[in-house]
């Protein structure tokens, strides 16, 4: 069947890359991009970083493309501010309220939504941070010097805390787990990275849950399980995300921690592929089923899903060594591969001292006799060398030898200045 109508649901990073890849692959048919938000597609990582920094006036929203690019260069019909409400795989249509959008090939890139604390949604001053509008609200509150409580010491929560700290407002992070960041970085490095907060004057309370968030119309305080009360003008909840699949209930797609796909990002339903934070797929590079929540995978999957959807006969598996970064207090944290390891070894750096050019923290993750992950703090020159090694299936021994060589070279260089 010739594919004439290509539809993408979700107008963010993965969706944008899908429509761009379709045109790049030479697709000449109709393309429709459907998005729930009224904004043009924009970039999320800056929303908890640069976008929150003090500035004269409002910084420009991080839009990826101008509207004219969609209309003129890409020939894409935008349906923004219009959430898809239903997928009918028999009739091959996406329903958007009462409108029907027929497709021959479809990429679903509806991403994920921030989890809220039930009951706290209606209180002014309580925020999640996933969208541009969320970020603007947090920004405005910080501009007013809001005393800030961040709930959840994950990466996004930590970035917000670090931004608030930079502005000199009072900020506390509350984390229910005894050690933060364990799921993302493992038990060895999680606490080390979390120590950056205290080092920079942000208080971090771990191992204590939130009992209630209180206030009349506006938030006034956060009460912890142990009875501690923390006064607050702004509460930002950073307790993770849920894949946006509600609109697909009953569609026949398999939903299990996102949309369940195969190696080619195919849902198993003719013509329907998925990409980005919403997709769970077996990552052939690591040999495990995963759902990513990072920029790199969303961008690459968007393009890969579009190419496969438009030429299913030649569909290619999508594999990656996962990568994410996070910026706090002027240091850069980078992770490649998986934190799921038998052993984590610090190959460079002293965790008792703050990370710096002369104290890069570099940790390697071993599974069996293979290198499966690497984490660096201020190790921008090192991290990608490990990503290449993991891609090539490097042995643990080789990775350690490489680390030793690089450590010596770096020490020699520092001694020379």
């Amino acid at each position: 069947m010739a594919i004439e109508k290509f539809v993408v649901v979700g107008a963010s990073l993965a969706g944008l890359r899908a429509v761009e890849a379709a045109r790049k692959a030479g697709f000449q048919g109709e393309i429709t991009l459907i998005g729930a938000e009224s904004h043009l597609p924009y970039d999320r990582p800056p929303l908890s970083k640069e976008f929150l920094e003090p500035a004269d006036g409002q910084p420009d929203p991080p839009y990826f493309r101008e509207e004219s690019v969609f209309a003129d260069e890409l020939g894409v019909t935008l349906m923004l501010g219009r959430p898809a409400t239903e997928l009918d795989v028999e009739a091959r249509v996406v329903r958007v309220g009462t409108d029907q959008v027929p497709y021959d090939a479809l990429v679903i890139a509806t991403g994920a939504a921030a989890r809220h604390i039930p009951g706290a949604e209606s209180l002014a001053g309580v925020q999640v941070l996933r969208t541009l509008d969320d970020s603007l609200a947090v920004r405005n509150a910080l501009d007013e010097g809001a005393r800030t409580v961040v709930i959840g010491a994950g990466f996004i929560g930590s970035e917000i805390a670090s931004s608030a700290n930079k502005r000199g407002v009072e900020v506390t992070i509350v984390e229910a787990l005894p050690t933060p960041l364990v799921r993302a970085t493992g038990t060895e490095m999680g606490p080390a990275i979390a120590s950056l907060h205290e080092r920079n004057g942000t208080s971090l309370r771990c191992g204590v849950g939130v009992r209630s968030i209180e206030g009349l119309d506006r938030v006034e305080k956060v009460v912890l399980e142990d009875g501690t009360e923390i006064p607050a003008d702004l509460v930002v909840i950073g307790i993770g995300v849920t894949p946006s699949v509600g609109w697909l209930e009953g569609s026949g797609l398999r939903l299990d921690n996102g949309i369940h796909c195969d190696e080619t990002l195919w849902t198993g339903v003719p013509g329907v592929y998925a990409a980005g934070d919403v997709v769970s797929w077996p990552n052939p590079t690591l040999g495990v089923r995963q759902r990513m929540e990072n920029w790199t995978a969303a961008a690459e999957q968007g393009a890969a899903a579009a190419r496969n959807a438009l030429d299913p006969g030649n569909a290619k598996a999508y594999g990656t060594v996962p990568y994410f970064w996070s910026d706090w207090y002027d240091v850069r944290i980078q992770h490649v591969g998986t934190p799921d390891a038998d052993e984590v070894v610090l190959v460079e750096g002293d965790l008792e001292r703050a990370p710096a050019t002369d104290n890069r923290w570099i940790a390697l993750y071993r599974k069996g006799d293979r290198l499966v992950g690497a984490l660096t703090v201020q190790g921008q020159a090192e991290i990608m060398k490990y990503r290449v090694q993991i891609m090539k299936g490097a042995s643990w021994e080789d990775a350690l030898a490489h680390a030793a060589r690089r450590r010596e070279a770096h020490a020699a260089k520092l001694a020379a200045v």
């Binding site: 890359r17 790199t296 850069r332 980078q334 490649v336 921008q380 020159a381 990608m384 060398k385 260089k413």
Partner: protein, 63 residues
């Protein structure tokens, strides 16, 4: 074919280095160093993936 870098946009995230290590490297200061600006037919695919993979959209290939 030649690689063009917008250094105002690049923040040294290094994706490009992992995809095309013969062309890109991030140095100790976290700045991108272009090791080889010319792209051969052999390398073009890797370099294009690096351009597409850059989270700040700082890279382009001029043909």
């Amino acid at each position: 074919m030649k690689i063009l870098v917008d250094y105002d946009k690049c923040t040294g995230l290094g994706i490009c280095e992992s995809l095309a290590p013969d062309h890109f490297e991030v140095n100790d200061d976290g700045d991108l160093v272009l090791l080889e600006e010319h792209v051969s037919d052999e390398d073009i695919q890797a370099v294009e993936e690096a351009c597409a993979g850059c989270p700040t959209e700082a890279l382009r290939v001029e043909r």
